[in-house]
Amino acid sequence: MTRLNSPQVVSTLEHSPDLLWLLRIVVLVQCVGLAGLYFFAGFESESDVYGYLYFDHGWPESVAQRIDDIGVIACLVAGLWVFLAGLGSAPRRMTSLVSLASLVTAFVWFLVVSLAHMIRGEPFASLSLGEHAVRYTVPLALAIIVVHQVWNFRASGTQYRWSMSLLAIASSATFMVHGYKAIVLYPAFTDLILLSDANLLGLGLSQSTSETILATIGIIDIAVALLLIATRWRVIAIYMAVWGLVTSISRLTAFGFAAWPETLIRAANWGAPLALVIYHGKSTTTVSTKDD
């Protein structure tokens, strides 16, 4: 079984364009999802930041709404910038500085949205910081990698290692919380299975069968979350990437195309583990080359 973060290879991972591109795409996609959800989709609404300011602190509604919109638009612009800036061949210092600021903006806003959700009274909201860990960690992980461009030093293996360690912890946290919610039969997850079945598979699953499946999924989620941290096996990250994609798409299969923002905002659910897969693949390749 091959492992991530083998000490003999991290120093050789000084530049990894496909990994950087993956992270840029994930940041962009989840920012588009965020903007769709809270700004421009057919059923756009306000995030918990608005609810926290308006309902919990009595701020004027227009101010709370404006702050919410500004945060979302800033994330959308940040996501677009990070993606477009990557198209340039040799990024200038100012470009890199803006990219870094964009990533920090996205990190902060996703974190704030998650915190606001945690503070408010929804069921399981207290777990949202862990549940949404991949969302705010992906911009942070990318920021750690691109920070070298601002101060003109080469990205080192240490930066990659820190980034990937953060992504591993975040992926594990997200799967852990999802696993817990699945084991306690979170009703919305049960409905994802039932409605996806009704719309796509037509197996006619009963609620009890769906709940059995859900509990099994939950156990697997927690197992892979623990295994990822404990072993860093690549196959675990592959499973998490595939399952993260399946669960993201389940919003579409359950609720139809109108739920596209719900799918996009979960890009990091598969993107973060996939980054680990790529990173690990590079490590393996490098090790093989060295061994050869």
Binding site: Q65, P123, D191, N199, Q207, A258
Partner: protein, 414 residues
């Protein structure tokens, strides 16, 4: 002499005005001390013509909790019902619930009740059971009474006045029977301190003559945890979806958006609507998270229940959660259709209001959306359902009518 008489008359006038101005408009705010009965309420979760749950709270555990009841106007106590008691779950607040379950009551009958805990008695209060015959009935519907106790209290006092006024006139059709509450009573459902304040505020729905307004509760997304069932007298693991008759021709289905909507509940709903549609002139549903929301994204009710509402030609659906006022156009197959279903509500029993997104297609004229503390008054008659949205202060913001479906057993056309 004349001056003295004038002075006496003036004093009498001033005194009369003062008494009128300060007379209690509702009966509530019982002190929550020791085993003094407080937080009184009547809940309808099964046949309201013959059963009712009368509940109260005490600050101390006490030993003996019972309810005396009699038909209003009679002096002899008809019976005594021991209460099911327990300590509320949630936080460090020490508070005890007592539920007296009354059964075998007579329909359309006023029952006086006195709550008693360890010899401490409440005043005699009363409620009226639902009718079983085919007569016009009127129901209040609202939701979202969380987060602003001051506004909630005003809404509760207004509802108490509306109940009193509805019985003061000669029009029996407008007599307010009960309040269907669409959920989100407080912001954090596991916080018993907040529930305690809500329960004290809810007492204000009691009229000055002691008339209690029965509540038909739905669970909201903020009503997580055990206290909801403890407050309303549901069994511990109750799924919180049920259907009751309000008269011979009105069936009210209460659904729970906070548990699986697509599984057993949808199956139950399909069966319930299939059996009810041929038997009732009016078929109404209430639940918390909207399928056609005025501010948020749609809940799973859109996939799980709307097809069933349309299949069985439900007449009206009452929603909450959005903190605004809305009435949709009639909807069928995701578009405006005269045979479709109208969705009203979104919640304004005290919660701060959001600005609705009135450019959503289902809210455009002849639908509507607005904001303001409000309650809907729904009058079910033989040939039509009349609804109005009453704002805090009494102004009517919206009115609508639905004709009875031509042949409500089969034909969706009104």
């Amino acid at each position: 002499m004349i001056n003295n008489r004038l002075r006496a008359a003036a004093m009498f006038f001033v005194l009369t005005c003062w008494v009128a101005a300060t007379a209690p408009r509702s009966l509530g705010d019982a002190p929550l001390v020791g085993t003094n009965p407080a937080h009184w309420r009547v809940t309808w979760i099964s046949d309201p013509s013959t059963t009712a749950t009368v509940s109260w709270s005490t600050a101390k555990q006490g030993k003996t909790h019972q309810l005396r009841y009699r038909v209003k106007g009679k002096t002899d106590v008809q019976g005594t019902q021991l209460a099911r008691s327990g300590r509320f779950t949630g936080g460090n607040v020490e508070l005890y619930y007592h539920h007296a379950r009354l059964a075998d009551l007579q329909p359309s009958t006023a029952y006086e009740v006195q709550l008693s805990s360890d010899g401490n008695d409440s005043p005699w209060l009363y409620f009226v059971t639902a009718p079983v015959d085919d007569r016009p009935i009127t129901l209040l519907h609202g939701g979202d009474s969380r987060s602003d106790s001051a506004m909630r209290r005003k809404m509760n006092v207004m509802m108490a006045e509306m109940v009193t006024d509805s019985y003061a006139n000669n029009d029996n059709a407008d007599d307010l029977l009960a309040l269907a509450h669409g959920g989100d009573y407080i912001v954090t459902g596991t916080n018993m301190q907040l529930w305690s304040v809500w329960l004290s505020d809810h007492e204000l729905t009691t009229g000055s003559d002691g008339r209690m307004l029965p509540i038909i509760p739905a669970r909201g997304n903020h009503d997580k945890g055990k206290p909801f069932n403890e407050v309303f007298g549901f069994p511990d693991e109750d799924p919180n979806y049920y259907a009751i008759d309000l008269g011979a021709q009105v069936r009210l289905v209460t659904l729970n958006t906070e548990t699986s909507t697509a599984g057993d509940q949808a199956k139950w709903l399909d069966g319930e609507l299939a059996s009810s549609r041929p038997r009732y002139r009016w078929l109404v549903a209430q639940y918390h998270r909207p399928a056609f929301p005025a501010v948020k994204g749609p809940s799973t009710a859109l996939q799980s229940w709307v097809p069933l509402f349309e299949k069985h030609n439900v007449d009206l659906v009452c929603e909450a959660d959005g903190h605004n006022i809305k009435r949709t156009v009639p909807i069928r197959d995701g578009k405006l259709d005269e045979t479709g279903i109208v969705y009203i509500g979104e919640g304004g029993l005290g919660v701060p209001q959001r600005t609705p997104k009135d450019d959503r297609w289902f809210l455009e004229s002849p639908g509507m959306a607005d904001q303001g503390h409000h309650v809907f008054v729904l009058t079910f008659q033989e040939d039509k359902l009349h609804g109005k949205c009453v704002l805090l202060g009494g102004k009517i913001r919206d009115q609508f009518e639905l004709k009875v479906r031509r042949n409500f057993e089969q034909d969706p056309v009104r």
